[in-house]
């Protein structure tokens, strides 16, 4: 299951490209049959902004099996510049940069690996804005 699921979701994972309902504006990560909010069937492809601010964060020390070798790592709630909220891993943070309201940007990173011989799953994480 893992390979098809990763492949199907790659547009959002790589570039934050998803679908917005033409009727009510609800955002969907993956193209749905009907809108989760209003039930309509019209969508347009949108690329979300890559920058935003950190609303809240936490440190994961006891990680699920796939992420054990990455612990401790950070999870943050990010509000993108268009107001969309997104939960994601944070990366490259120093202790003093880690505060609510910090400016962040999406970057492509390794999310997990399916063992030594399986696929490497890449996707977005957020880091402190550079430059």
């Amino acid at each position: 299951m893992r390979v098809p699921r990763y492949w199907r979701n790659k547009l959002f994972r790589y570039r934050l490209v998803g679908w917005r309902c033409i009727n009510c504006g609800a955002f969907h990560h993956f193209k749905p049959l009907v809108c989760k909010r209003c039930g309509s069937r019209g969508f347009r492809e949108v690329e979300l902004p890559k920058t935003g601010k950190l609303l809240a964060y936490t440190v994961v020390k006891i990680a699920p099996a796939d992420f054990k070798d990455k612990a401790p790592y950070l999870i943050g709630l990010v509000e993108l510049d268009d107001g969309t909220r997104i939960l994601a891993q944070l990366t490259d943070f120093s202790q003093d940069e880690l505060k609510d309201g910090a400016r962040v940007e999406a970057v492509l990173r390794k999310i997990r690996e399916d063992g030594e011989s399986g696929i490497i799953e890449y996707g977005y994480k957020f880091r402190p804005l550079v430059g």
Binding site: K10, E47, D69, T91, L108, R109, G115, I120, V130, G131
Partner: protein
């Protein structure tokens, strides 16, 4: 050597990961004194980085700087000797991540540390012949050095990308000429399934690095009628600090013509990205009209030399995206234990 006609860099990007380890910290483990160490510190990729993620970082910066629609890119060549997959191209992942189209050429290159500059040759050929409008030449590596080996002090991580297209008024720099010099020289290699490269120690100097790099430069200068005086910046591959300075001495260059392109002292040697990152640092400060000589070196062995001329477009395009300095200055120092974890030297399973 080849003289090019109407091909230019339209955008460029350099990326260096945030983490640094001091050579002194590595020396502490292996009993080396500070005066024996080849560099000050090197850049280390984080736990979630590899040559794919760094290639994407550099490519995104290059595209942003060029200000073009990524769908116009017709070819992506990534040079690396640390591909995360033995079989599965890096170029396809980069293409999707930057939003390039599907009708493109995506191929990975390997020639030790010169795979990135080889990509420039292929892209310029495709652009000059009119087969593509734009192409990306990328060098990216998470360089491997066996624990305790001399290479461990310098093997670093980084990526650089050049977005190349037709020569226009707003281009960053024209690519005027190039030359390659290759021979079968067994100075450094890595066999299939080996994690770390092997090298022939002192053999890496005169018969490998110096012979090839001077071979490519001298022929390019002589045949194209350039003289050393015409060139404002020189960028060489730099496995350490000593080697590029020895080339500068052999060519009788003033120190200020080489210092901007020297990065190995504080970033180390990120293999395929090294000479290209030196070029990025020069482009971050060069003025229109300046001439740049770039010469890579790849073990096995060979060197590609290029002559570039900086154009007016640089003034406006430079500030569209983060400069190399922004990545160099945001460093976080790590100890050897974190370095071992980040670079997969600790195995949990």
């Amino acid at each position: 050597m080849v003289r090019l006609n109407g091909v230019a860099i339209q955008g460029y990007g350099g990326y260096v990961p945030r983490y640094r380890i001091r050579a002194e910290e590595i020396g502490r483990l292996w009993g080396r004194e500070k005066q024996e160490l080849p560099i000050e510190e090197k850049a280390v990729a984080g736990l979630d980085e590899d040559s794919v993620t760094m290639a994407v970082e550099a490519a995104r910066i290059a595209v942003k700087r060029a200000g073009i629609d990524p769908k116009k890119i017709g070819a992506i060549h990534v040079g690396s000797e640390s591909k995360p997959y033995a079989v599965k191209p890096t170029g396809t992942i980069v293409a999707e991540a930057i939003g390039a189209g599907q009708n493109i050429l995506a191929a990975d290159l390997e020639f030790a540390c010169k795979a990135g500059t080889e990509a420039i040759q292929l892209i310029t050929g495709l652009v000059e012949s009119g087969r593509i409008e734009y192409g990306l030449a990328i060098g990216a590596d998470t360089a491997q050095g066996r624990p305790g080996d001399a290479l461990e002090y310098t093997a670093a991580s980084g990526a650089a990308a050049l977005l190349i297209g037709r020569l226009t008024d707003d281009a960053v720099a024209s690519i005027e000429a190039w030359n390659s010099y290759v021979t079968d020289t067994p100075d450094f290699w890595r066999r299939e399934s080996e994690n770390y490269p092997s090298h022939a120690a002192r053999f890496t100097g005169q018969p490998a690095y110096f012979r090839h790099i001077l071979g490519s430069i001298n022929e390019l200068l002589n045949d194209e009628g350039y003289s050393i005086k015409d060139i404002d910046y020189f960028v060489f591959h730099q496995p350490n600090v000593k080697f590029p300075l020895a080339v500068a001495k052999a060519l009788k260059l003033e120190r200020e013509k080489v210092s901007s392109g020297l990065i190995s002292g504080f970033l180390g040697n990120p293999y395929s990205a090294t000479s290209l990152l030196g070029l990025v640092r020069v482009l971050d400060e060069a003025k229109p009209g300046d001439a740049i000589l770039l010469a890579s070196f790849g073990s096995g062995a060979g060197s590609d030399a290029y002559i570039l001329r900086v154009l007016d477009g640089i003034e406006e395009k430079r500030d569209r995206a983060p400069k190399l300095k922004d990545f160099i200055e945001r460093k976080i120092y790590i100890d050897y234990a974190s370095y071992a974890k980040f670079r997969g030297k600790l195995r949990l399973r």
